[in-house]
Symmetry: C3
Subunit: 330 residues, 3 copies
């Protein structure tokens, strides 16, 4: 989908039922968070808030009745796929698609371009996950309908970034909040999408990772250049836990390490438990894009620090907001 | 979902359109048939009858419009999964979920608890099949929404038990009926769920199985203790076929036998064919939870004995009843 | 489903909103194109045209609200499965089913007959793909509801044939059009379904294939006998490209050849590129049932010859027409 060259965003603060905007996001694609204008992000946050209220009321308007979302998952996913599905169904729309390439024409050698053209003609909007970096952008160029990336390789996962931002906004607000991104920052695409949004709102950015899994240098450079913000780096969570308001934890995959003993040594520095949180700043929240394996001890689950399940639940209103905005039904 | 501590059940016998009840089942979980109160079973039978009439009329009220059923199938299933899906769609609701663990975050090492929490936040009611005994009860403790077990290992399959009971009720009534449960009673979870319901209604219970595949002793003991009913045991179907009104046949899996020749010897005693049915009591019906392999000869299909396909079709109204009752929309 | 013995077809040419017909196709099965009466084909074309207009308007009547389509795909498919799904959803209906036999009761040894009986009781209409020739006809005999074949082995793929015909009608009309079917005509089931429709409308039929992959002799003989039409055969596309109006290209699978060097020699004669099209008759269109691998060079994609993507998109209105006609909702 080509993006319209012109967009006027218009806000009303008088309650969640009156959201007027002159279709700033309509028909756009959501591929990364890098080039997303702040007006669009604000519109998404606003609309997400409205959707959250509808969900809590149990009365969601069937804005997308008759519309079809195509879910093209070339790679495993439950969370992203099911939360988009839930979002579409809540709004009265329908869903079709595939999950995994078994039993698809991709197995017969069809090109991604041809597969996208086909699915585009069967639906009104596409969400796609694919292992190759840049595949979402390619799909967006081909498709007539809006394309939302559900993750392309190690590159980006923009809707996760948006629901991360929404979670921070709901739980801590967006003023003077200090955030630590922790774990595998090299391959962790959710952190690549979130960091641009943190910079956009001027939040404090702290990067905590093993030396071999640092945030890609070009991302750090670009953010420093365009936002002029300071980014601090650390090697263990215990160094930041008493200073930050948000501990955003990601999984470190054993497979990333050639040397298993090196992994063993690191593991402890990237694990959240009651001991670590004993030193936490007052009001600190722990977030995680999930699934978690052992990065967060289950002993944290019942504590006020634990916001990772609320975080996951926010995925539905944020994706409802995106679907309705991109389809121009608000 | 925690169950409400108090429930008043109220019945009217004046036709299928007027079913009033003060939400006896609303928000409950259906995990086994062991602790299901008789009022609840009666409510389900009543509501199933109503749903059957709606289906025959071709005019089903869209009671569950806007509601989402999540189907979490960690193990293969077509019948249970598709009949729940059909039931939900017939009532105007929608369905999301997964079938098999390929392509899910379980493969990435996510715990069952975390997966349930996620799916719970995307839906209004869950049906789950999982290979581990007790997994359904665990899911029910975690989820905020009602959980229905679609089978947990060799333990229970309560909705199959309920549709078995409904089939007997529709085809033979529930007074003075003599039932034989035949085949693999050790691992056959459908018989574990059905036997409690037979006892609840005081139906005659006959158990027909190889010695190595007998109904677990603790189940037999518990039923004798709590219901004071008599349970008779046999080793071949020919011993009971002239006495019983219902022959409930299950599959004996070859894999259960270490010694293949032992299996060969037994097979004949657990196969329903015209020869066996030549000695049948007048009006006897043959039921099977399906899929069948060779336990029932296809030569029986066209005869008046064969009720296994009607039996399967009753799965839809019974599941419609459950979904609508648990969601409080009747 | 048994077909009604009597049908009156009634046409009005006064626009797409007034389509009256006395249910010629209602409750029929669509298994092959061989015995499809011309009245039925005309009814389908008419209704497809109407559906196309609804889709372009963006206002499709929800004719199939409350109806359930079952998709039984025993073999991989994305295009056929998703376009049927899209068609059903566009008309306000719902879809359930399976894709691949992993996780189905077929894996437990259930017969096709039993699986069909089950799915039939959960839905209102079935579309099935199965690797065995004749399986669709078997399913149609068993099911109470209409069955549409989505391809049975190398036999037939009738709905593809109908959307091929619709594409030719829309792009070239149905008078005096000369068509070349090219590639693997032995195993290519789409060409087996299309050739009967070409003969029905008296279109010119040219067969272009390697000697080892010729159209089955019995099909050619039957068509010559019943339609008295002429069928010409060729060994390379360059022999026909300047004479025909439609180049219908199918994939030649490497696996069909024992001798890989033989395949290599042939490949060039069955590949559409700009060079071949330099000799094309004015107005020639290239069609392909897709997925394509290398039979059509991507350099053709942007040219006026390329109609294969429009062709694929026509699948939705044609399948909408079929679903609504067979369910008697027009």
């Amino acid at each position: 989908m080509t993006k319209p060259g012109f967009s006027i965003v218009f806000f009303k603060d008088s309650g969640y039922r009156i959201i007027l905007n002159i279709m700033g996001l309509m028909s756009k694609d959501i591929i990364t968070t890098v080039d997303l204008p702040k007006e669009d992000v604000e519109e998404i946050m606003k609309q997400s808030e409205a959707m959250l209220l509808f969900l809590r009321d149990g009365r969601v308007p069937r804005l997308l009745k008759g519309k079809i979302l195509a879910t093209m998952f070339f790679e495993p996913s439950t969370r992203t796929r099911l939360s988009f599905t839930s979002a579409m169904l809540r709004l009265g729309g329908s869903v079709l698609g595939f999950s995994g390439t078994e039993g698809t024409s991709i197995k017969k050698g069809e090109s991604l371009e041809d597969t996208v053209r086909m699915v585009d003609s069967y639906s009104d909007i596409i969400v796609m996950r694919h292992p190759d970096m840049g595949s979402s952008a390619l799909a967006a160029r081909i498709a007539k309908n809006p394309v939302i990336s559900g993750g392309d390789g190690h590159n980006h996962h923009p809707t996760q970034g948006l629901m991360d931002l929404f979670t921070i906004m709901k739980e801590k607000g967006l003023r003077g909040v200090n955030v630590a991104l922790c774990g595998d920052l090299k391959y962790g695409r959710t952190t690549h999408s979130l960091i641009y949004l943190l910079a956009m709102y001027g939040l404090g950015i702290n990067l905590v990772s093993p030396a071999s899994l640092r945030m890609p240098a070009e991302i750090v450079k670009e953010i420093k250049r365009s936002n002029g913000c300071e980014i601090r780096e650390f090697r263990s969570m215990s160094e930041v836990v008493s200073d930050v308001d948000v501990l955003y934890v990601t999984r470190i995959q054993k497979e990333r390490f050639l040397n298993i003993s090196e992994y063993g040594k690191l593991e402890g520095s990237y694990r959240v438990d009651r001991k670590l949180l004993g030193k936490a700043k007052k009001g600190l929240i722990v977030m995680h894009p999930l699934p978690r394996v052992s990065e967060i001890s289950t002993e944290v689950d019942g504590t006020p620090f634990a916001k990772y399940f609320d975080h996951a639940a926010y995925g539905v209103p944020v994706r409802m907001a995106l679907l309705s905005l991109l389809l121009g039904k608000v």
